[in-house]
Symmetry: C2
Subunit: 248 residues, 2 copies
């Protein structure tokens, strides 16, 4: 049982019309933005957000995200994100989330893996001494199955070249998490999203990409309901993903 | 003097690290998102937001936006948007905004022109009978100079072809305002933004574009501090803009 409220953080939202996708629902890119936002808000609530780490020229970055949605919030609908930390080790912190509709019915779940990097060396930092993490581990589990191993797509059914632009890049001067996801989502046509929804997303951010870098986006959609993607430069993957679709 | 608080709406924000551009400031695309958001929140406060218009298969769309910023909010900084309606006629509603830092110092201003379209016919709707507008006209003026006439760029210094993708499109199934702005901003390299900021933006949305449409993005930057752009299909402009830069 949790006795400390600081272990759990909930934020409520309203899905505005301007935020919706063509299916009049919450876009998966907005789910990703909210994941980053509630993690930030939770850390801010402990007094250990951005401003604390940046003093040491460090910052949290997302390493892996797994999302499962039974349905997405619809236009003008209220929804909430609740987050807690399940586990951590020297290198990674595992943060879970639950997405509910306005009646508290669970409509989605999220598993995320975060690390702290040093902006100067671009390397991971030992987080085992961050007491605010160890003090806030929750015994609550996630209903989402852990992410499987994601492979580079070598037998692509479609390969597209893409050069990252100014608005793709963030405060770290590398490509933003949400922009990778947009690039991956844009490998499928509007018509597919009209017929199917992304029931499960697995994505791993493996190697940072800078503004102006050109990559290959490789897709294997031999199984249209279980598509694999990777964003690669030669033999190096910047990002790998799996999109599991369900008919609407 | 204003006596009715419903004529003025203020929303406070904190600029999180995940929202920042490579210059560690509020991106112009986020300014645009906030413009749409506070207008929506103000309309919701009157009880006449999205849900009211959609009953008649209608919705507000942005027609013109002019932004002037003396500086942009920086990472972890609080800022606010205040909005009011200055004027309206049968076809257009003119909504102004003021952007302040946490001490109330004005750091930017916005003029916007909105119209209501019928989603079935894609044509403008007579808004002169919407009493919630006439009841909420403010006598407060904008410090931002009105938008000048924007022309199609015919003598381009750079022309780029672009095909709109799934994540570029919104609930109306046409290209999202923010995505046009991203496309225009991406015509300039990161290095330009490191040295200069967009002091004034003028943008007009002229003709809707659909998912899968291919356009030409035309730029004239003969004057590097006063650049003109247009997003065109043949002799038709979908969007025209002017970016006035200042050295940092």
């Amino acid at each position: 049982m949790e006795t400390n409220n600081s272990k759990k953080f909930t934020q409520k939202y309203l899905l505005t019309a301007a935020e919706c996708n063509p299916e009049r629902e919450m876009p998966l890119t907005l789910v990703m933005s909210r994941i980053i936002e509630v993690a930030t808000l939770h850390a801010n609530a402990w007094g250990v957000g951005y401003s604390k780490l940046i003093e040491a020229n460090q910052g949290w970055v997302l390493s892996r995200v797994t999302v499962e949605m039974t349905r997405y919030p619809r236009v003008n609908e209220q929804y909430s994100f609740t987050t807690w930390i399940e586990n951590y080790n020297r290198h990674f912190s595992q943060r879970n989330m639950e997405i509910c509709d306005k009646d508290g019915v669970v409509i989605g779940g999220v598993r995320t893996i975060w690390m702290v990097i040093n902006y100067a060396t671009r390397e991971g930092v030992d987080i085992s001494k961050l007491s605010y993490i160890s003090n806030n581990i929750s015994d609550r589990k996630s209903s989402v199955a852990p992410q499987g191993r994601l492979h580079m797509v070598t037998e692509a059914t479609k390969s597209t070249s893409y050069t990252f632009k100014y608005t793709d890049c963030d405060i770290n001067r590398h490509v933003n998490t949400v922009k990778y996801l947009e690039l991956l989502m844009n490998q499928f046509p509007l018509e597919k999203y009209d017929k199917q929804l992304v029931r499960r997303l697995e994505i791993a951010f493996m190697h940072e990409t800078r503004c102006g870098d050109t990559v290959e986006v490789n897709l294997n959609d031999n199984d249209g309901l279980d598509c694999k993607l990777s964003v690669d430069s030669g033999r190096l993957s910047h990002c790998r993903a799996r999109f599991c679709f369900s008919p609407r």
